[in-house]
């Protein structure tokens, strides 16, 4: 049965383009493609004409010119003489910073609230419901400006710390200052610092941090080994050795040692002149954005977590209890692994939303990529087309990367089913 006879040749008729299933889909696609191309061509030619009228050649050269404005929060070196590129880079890092921080806190908060909504304490459950409804049903922009207003209006200004009998005082043994300009916390300094290493002339990375990071990672790896050994021992004898102090030890002791070698000390913030100096300054704009995005997204995550946990039938936890598993083990071994697969996909889209919502930073003057590239740069250079396109491209890249990573993770925890 290997002889393949050709299908009988039919003479081609024009009507077959529409009525013949073989050609029909081709026809539709060609029409769609032509339509799309025509639309694209129309838009591009309009744009070209309009730009020609305005005398603006599309070009990204303006990004090499000095930005001429200052940015308060920069994770890499930046002065007002640096290029717009670099300003955009500073903004991008700020976006990523708030997105990462926001995702972490939103997850923690969301999980806690989601679990508490299922609490058997009526009051707690009800309050968490109120929380969720309150945050979900009011626009996030309002929450951002609201949080900012709260920080500004209710916290003391630095000047309140001044004088012999100040109205406000620093917390935790004069190491943390909570002001309406932000929170100043001690910074980590090294008296025997190893210096910096330059990456492509674009940013500096402290060798101290690299060293500490390396030791930390090594510690974590060793602690993983310890855990694995504990697994082996448990498999062999049934008893699981207590390992937390060993794991803590291998992580902490070498790290502390390195810190000591590097001459670790804390730089405390100090009221000097107009502001606190020294220490690490978490600006209000960052805190407000971070907080607002976290609490807002947490409301959604809470619902996801709740739905995820409820999706695991009551029979599962009953079966686990009947087997004598403690409630903690039931949660870890039975409920969570099943709930996670329901939870993770919507969680991804909430992380994406949070990242996209971080573009509302401009409402509180946080200099993220929308504030620099899409804000001052665009405004000062008048290069709307280029700036906005670049801005969208950057966000698109971030979004697609997040969903790619999370989808990969999602696939790796997916359950095997029939």
């Amino acid at each position: 049965m290997t002889t393949l006879t050709d299908p009988p040749r039919e003479s081609f008729r024009l009507s077959m383009l529409i009525y013949d299933t073989r050609y029909r889909s081709l026809t539709i696609q060609v029409v769609a493609l032509i339509g799309f191309m025509a639309l694209a061509a129309w838009l591009v030619s309009n744009t070209a004409n309009n730009l020609a009228d305005l005398g603006k050649e599309p070009s990204f050269a303006f990004l090499n010119e000095p930005a001429s404005y200052d940015i308060n929060q920069r994770l890499i070196e930046y002065t007002s003489r640096d290029s717009h590129w670099r300003a955009a880079g500073v903004g991008l890092l700020n976006t990523l910073l708030v997105a990462v921080l926001g995702c972490i806190t939103a997850t923690i908060l969301g999980v806690v609230i989601g679990v508490l909504r299922l609490s058997n304490n009526w009051l707690v459950a009800k309050i968490m419901t109120v929380y969720v409804e309150m945050f979900r049903n009011v626009p996030v922009l309002l929450w951002i400006v609201f949080t900012m207003a709260i920080l500004i209006e209710t916290l003391p200004a630095p000047r309140a710390f001044r004088g012999d009998n100040p109205e406000a005082s620093m917390l935790l043994g004069d190491s943390v200052a909570v002001t309406n300009r932000g929170v100043y916390i001690p910074e980590i300094l090294f008296s025997r610092s190893l210096g910096n290493v330059d990456f492509f002339g674009f940013f500096n990375v402290s060798l101290d941090l690299i060293a500490i990071g390396a030791v930390l990672i090594a510690g974590i790896l060793i602690s993983k080994l310890i855990t694995r050994r504990a697994n082996v021992i448990q498999a062999a004898t049934g008893d699981r050795p207590v390992t937390w102090y060993k794991r803590l030890g291998v992580i902490c002791i070498p790290t502390l040692l390195v810190l000591w070698i590097l001459g670790y000390h804390l730089g405390y913030p100090e009221l000097k002149g107009f502001n606190f100096s020294g220490g690490t300054h978490l600006r209000n704009s960052l805190i407000a954005l971070w907080l607002a995005l976290s609490v807002y997204t947490a409301a959604f995550i809470a619902e996801i977590v709740r739905a995820g946990i409820m999706s695991v039938s009551k029979g599962q936890s009953e079966a686990a209890s009947a087997l004598g598993l403690s409630s903690r083990r039931t949660m870890n071994l039975v409920i969570l692994p099943q709930a996670l697969r329901v939870i993770i996909p919507p969680m991804i889209s909430n992380y994406l939303n949070l990242t996209k919502n971080s573009s509302l930073a401009i409402a509180v003057g946080y200099m993220d990529i929308t504030g620099t590239l899409g804000g001052i740069t665009m405004n000062q250079t008048g290069r709307e087309l280029e700036s906005i396109l670049l801005l969208m491209l950057i966000y698109l890249t971030i979004s697609l990367s997040i969903s790619a990573v999370m989808n990969w993770y999602n696939n790796s925890v997916k359950l095997v089913e029939r």
């Binding site: 200052d70 200004a157 000097k272 502001n275």
Partner: protein
């Protein structure tokens, strides 16, 4: 041209700020008032004969130029600094200067600062979307002092932060500083520092290349200025419009010559423009002058005859 569009539409689309006390803000009934608003109304009166035939379009520092370039607004009367690049590169035409301003600093008196040079390490609130952040960067760089910029979108929010002490200094155009200060609960506890770190000639602008429309806007503004110089006020204009001994007044008010016709308007155009809110001086006094809570002295914005810079080319 734009003038035909405006006439056909019967309304002037005028871009203003989203709100700066004394310069532009809506009241509870949605009626806009302020120094910039008055320019819009004067132009509308000149062209359409009705000072209320204006659609006020609030713009932020970010959106104003696009709005003008795209034709969404006919005239941008919003404290916009006349700079080389805006004029040449962004393709706009400034039709004149209605307010000579400069960027200044406001600080609480209690801070004990008397000069901007003493602001090393201070936190500075800046209203973004203007030239201010560039001036500020240049000023501090030139004086080699450090600062912490806090960029803020609107005047209202900047004021909130400044009052709460979230920034030590508020910098924007001195006029806006004065206006803002005037609304404080205790204005005296705040002072504007003597340094003016930039020249900020603020004026209305139109799109490049539409000269008829540019001329109308330019000469409406000039008419307001000239009226003050010649002593034509909203109170006496009715009388003066019957003819005076001063030929320039007559030309201005259309009883002599055909200036209106040259602009493509009727003879009464300037008279109507002045009637709406009065001459330049009246507008100033009514909205931001010493008698108002804002209380700005004329200073640079006095007539050239009084030692200021306000100067209109002759109506001839």
């Amino acid at each position: 041209g734009t003038v035909d569009d405006v006439k056909a539409r019967g309304k002037l689309n005028c871009g203003v700020t989203t709100g700066v006390p004394g310069f532009a803000a809506p009241d509870a009934n949605g009626n806009w008032a302020g120094f910039d608003v008055a320019v819009c109304r004067a132009v509308a009166a000149a062209v359409l004969g009705d000072g209320t035939a204006v659609e006020f379009i609030p713009t932020t520092g970010k959106t104003r130029f696009t709005a003008l370039a795209s034709g969404e607004i006919d005239l941008l009367a919003r404290n916009t600094t006349w700079t080389f690049s805006r004029d040449v590169d962004l393709k706009f035409d400034f039709v004149g200067v209605n307010y000579y301003d400069g960027q200044g600093f406001m600080v609480p008196v209690e801070l004990g600062v008397s000069s901007a040079k003493e602001l090393d390490g201070a936190t500075v609130c800046i209203q973004t979307g203007t030239t201010t952040e560039l001036n500020l960067a240049d000023f501090f760089r030139a004086n080699n002092i450090s600062y912490e910029p806090v960029p803020i979108e609107t005047n209202a929010e900047a004021q909130q932060q400044y009052l709460a002490g979230a920034c030590d200094v508020y910098t924007t155009d001195a006029s806006a500083l004065a206006a803002t200060r005037a609304t404080f609960e205790a204005p005296d506890a705040h002072m504007v520092l003597p340094e003016i770190i930039s020249k900020e000639p603020l004026g209305p602008l139109v799109r490049h290349g539409d000269n008829e429309w540019g001329d109308i806007a330019r000469w409406t503004l000039n008419a307001l200025i000239t009226a003050e110089e010649l002593g034509v006020t909203s109170a006496n204009i009715g009388e003066m419009a019957n003819g005076t001994n001063n030929p320039e007044i007559n030309r201005l008010l259309g009883t002599e010559g055909n200036l209106g016709e040259m602009l493509g308007l009727d003879a009464d155009w300037a008279k109507r423009a002045i009637m709406v809110e009065g001459n330049y001086g009246e507008i100033f006094e009514k909205n931001i002058g010493l008698s108002t809570p804002i209380g700005i002295a004329r200073g640079l914005n006095a007539q050239w005859t009084d030692g200021g810079l306000i100067y209109s080319p002759p109506f001839r």
